[in-house]
Amino acid sequence: MRESQNPYILEMRNIFKSFGGVNALRDVSFQCRPGTVHALVGENGAGKSTLIKILAGALLPDSGEIIFKGQKHQSFSTRKALNSGISVIYQELALVSQMTVAENIFLGREPRKYFGIVDKKRLKIEAKKLLKQLGFEVDMDMEVGEMTVAYQQMVEIAKALSKNADLIIMDEPSAILAGHELDQLFLIIESLKKRGVTIIYISHRLEEVFRIANEVTILKDGQLVGTKPIKDLSRGELVKMMVGRTLEEVFPVSFNQLGNPVIQVEEISTKTILNQVSFNLREGEILGVAGMVGSGRTELARAIFGADPLTSGTIKIKGQDVVFKNPADAIRSKISLVPEDRKYHGLFTKLSILNNITLPILSKISRWGFTDKKKENEIVERERQIHSIDMTSGNQEVQYLSGGNQQKVVLSKSLQTIPEVIIMDEPTRGVDVGAKFEIYQLIRQLNKDGIAILMISSELPEILGLSDRILVMREGKIVAELTPNETNEEMIIEFATTNTQQSVP
């Protein structure tokens, strides 16, 4: 009787889960009200994804109960979760890029005529109807791989709706979206809410949580910290619940001892997007570069690093004109790049920590072509201490490290050449809050040692908290130069987006 008056669509009770003796979840319970957006936050490794996987039926809990729509389940299978109306939209979108929009939406549940024959006409009509409900009109015959990620995400949402999902779990949906696309996603979430669909929203970006969530559940180290209505929380309180540290402590203070310009960039343009960009970077300075995805931030890093050729303009290092034909030239001039995507451009994930860190300086530490194992081990041990890399040994493969620790290895690797300038592209992407703090401290430390840092980031709090100066880019140009204490997030966004053409897929 009580179950029928249950005010919650979903209850997870006393969930335990461990992997090989390590507790991933300890006694986690939380409830979701129907037709609301419930945010799930916590650092990486807090247990969010384990919890989601249990809910999706991909993992079995060691103990605990799931009560969904008043029905008690000891455990879930993927099928059972799907059939009872739970859909998960994973970060890596679950779409087959070679197949069409309609085929993707009904994959595995194709409407059939007789025997095993697909009813193509109905397939298209149904798919079109679903997307129309979401306010989207696309060609049903278009292959999903030809669409923008934002549209692909809509296809995913349509797929969830086609399964009559009552609960949609979105795992960091914003990570792949640009600003205006995010607004569109939020509109859709609103309309889903109106239809009574419940949404569990996982995100690293707290701004979003405050924008759309009704309630928020915080996890830390596999345990529940609490569930609160969002209106009862301030940003600072939420961060504190997540990391047990206040916001002020997150960004270490600046040392503000600026020296002479190390790099002077004068009106450089490239074939990619850069259009007459000028700025200079001084010793001991952190120069933040903000802007939307596609504004030319990454291209700026590539141009300075010699990865893309200049079509006009000059770069001066300590007053001397330089021309970098390739990244090797830039490295010789003591510039180092920490690339955006560490898995593809920054690390050899299948090699050991040791091999990664010492790679840039192999010639220095080897004799007659033989590497000095002892020296290598010393270096790795030193780096482990300096950057507090959490590892079992130097021989551990990088792929088994957490995102934060991987990023520390990338940083450590790029420091081996003793650079004077470091270009960092999204230094804390996919890194949990605790590790972020350590990376911020490291950046400050480098800064104190007199290294100039060009820091590109999408995370405005980071830009505002660390930079000595901020450049805002838009459409390949620098549109504003700001000082952190005279600006705020809204102002930066204003500069970064005004007059931006809406891109149409």
């Binding site: 799907l82 679950a94 779409l95 890029s97 697909v118 278009m142 030809e146």
Partner: protein
């Protein structure tokens, strides 16, 4: 930014254009080339390569590979010839047992891949040697005999078309239907396109694999039967290196080796291109040794076209 018809089917169009070029070259260089007799011969030869290629195509579509096709064809020629032994009463028995042999080989492949998590490359590479080893331990000289009426089928016609070509056309139509209209077909493309998505969507990947690998091996067995029809005896030379020709034909036809993309019409183009190449070499009196060289070059060209298309 929808790609146009030409962009989408660039490889297939190029393949058919190349076939046309070969036909024109052939027509100008030999009076025998554009004769009905030669063209039907080419078609009949294409049916041999094509039957095996359509099976291989499905395997490659799910991002797998079957390297055992040539060896299986060889074994099936021998087994069917021995079973038939020149007796017309044995025809049905020999045909069904041979197809059954193919089916079992395919099921074993799928079992090892599905249940023991072995890679298709390893499984079928081992199979290549095992099946060849069994064949050569049975005989190294021609063995067995086709029955007379089975042999006659090679030159028999239905409605003015050779039985073999007729069979091949039916097979093509069935394959097109299977891949484009059925759920099984959709699931083949989905698995090759993105395995984890297919699994998450509740598609039974294992079942599709069982189906695909057995179909591939059954079609290889059928190719063996077609060879018996042509040779009349179980010749252990048949099938040597066939798997490579088959894979080349499939890839030239625009099938991605990474799975998820490919059409029957494309593979048919690949098969015809290879068959016309061989035929033209014979007609022009060029040494067969150049055949491999030319096919290799076409193969490289096709793969680089793939790359450019995907950029």
């Amino acid at each position: 930014m929808k790609r146009s018809f030409f962009q989408k089917h660039a490889i297939i169009l190029i393949v058919y254009a190349l076939i046309l070029v070969l036909v024109v070259i052939g027509a100008f260089n030999s009076e025998h080339f554009l004769t009905l007799r030669n063209l039907t011969n080419v078609m009949r030869q294409a049916a041999y390569l094509g039957t095996a290629a359509l099976g291989e195509m499905m395997v490659i579509l799910i991002a797998g590979i079957d390297l055992s096709v040539g060896s299986l064809v060889k074994l099936c020629v021998l087994v069917s010839a021995i079973l038939m032994d020149g007796d017309p009463d044995n025809v049905w028995m020999a045909v069904s047992l041979t197809l059954g042999l193919g089916l079992s080989v395919g099921l074993i492949h799928a079992f090892l891949i599905n249940e023991l998590n072995m890679s298709p490359f390893v499984v079928t590479f081992a199979s290549l040697f095992i099946l060849k080893g069994i064949s050569l331990s049975i005989t190294t000289k021609p063995i067995g005999r086709a029955s007379r009426d089975f042999l006659m089928l090679y030159s028999e016609k239905i409605a003015g078309i050779y039985v073999i070509i007729f069979f091949f056309i039916i097979l093509i139509l069935m394959m097109m239907f299977l891949l484009n209209k059925t759920i099984f077909g959709k699931h083949i493309y989905a698995i090759g396109g993105n395995l984890s998505v297919a699994q998450l969507s509740g598609i039974s990947v294992k079942r599709v694999r069982y189906g695909v690998y057995s179909l591939c091996s059954v079609l290889a067995a059928a190719t063996g039967l077609l060879w018996l029809m042509r040779m009349g005896v179980g010749d252990p030379v048949i099938g040597n290196g066939l798997e490579l020709n088959v894979i080349i034909a499939v890839v030239i036809g625009g099938t991605s080796l990474f799975g998820g993309r490919g059409t029957v019409i494309g593979v048919l183009g690949g098969v015809l291109l290879l068959t016309f190449t061989d035929n033209l070499l014979v007609i022009l009196g060029v040494s067969q040794f150049y055949s491999g060289l030319i096919k290799g070059l076409i193969f490289v060209a096709a793969v680089s076209l793939h790359k450019m298309e995907n950029r």
